[in-house]
Symmetry: C2
Subunit: 125 residues, 2 copies
Amino acid sequence: MNQPADSALRTALAYYQAWTSHDLDQAMSYIADDIVCDAPAGRLEGADAYRGFMGPFVQLLTGSRLIAAFGDDHTALIMYDTETVPVTSAPGAECVTVENGKIIYSRFVFDRAPFDAARMAGSER
Amino acid sequence: MNQPADSALRTALAYYQAWTSHDLDQAMSYIADDIVCDAPAGRLEGADAYRGFMGPFVQLLTGSRLIAAFGDDHTALIMYDTETVPVTSAPGAECVTVENGKIIYSRFVFDRAPFDAARMAGSER
């Protein structure tokens, strides 16, 4: 093992820092080309699909706060709250598997309900 | 400090083990009387409100799998997948604060959208 014992956590935090700073290019530098992400709406495969998912969300982001972050050399688990244009408090949690400084797998949990509600409210205007 | 360095994690895992075994009484033994839980639908205050929230969910539970669990002496962060009657895969994440072996605060994240969809599908029958 050449990796320090918290290397997955460091990658996850660097990734979090990048996307919450609206630096999508920097964020994607921590994402493996063949990432697999199990998100609420289904599985995303590959960096392009992942960027297509994160990009619009990052554009809506107006604030963020890290709630907790733990990890070891392979796995990190973080929870954060986000403030977005449609939803004031939209917390999320990510469990990521890291290899060679890149996230190769992500299990992503957040509540789609308030985003769905905001979308419906918008379409009713 | 009289607590071991992973005492919050041990409490969180014991709690998880209890409710995923459908032992709600045992699960509630790890919940402080004055627990505050920030859940997707809003804040729950007190063990009675918390039990009223967990009880119906545990009744729907048909399976569970721990995805990751980390913690220190005060805080634990866990992610798991659940299988429920209305929703086949309903992952959740909990960040809990523990004092004296009891969970005093929980931040709880899961996706309400598939439960809402199942409810609507049921009401349309």
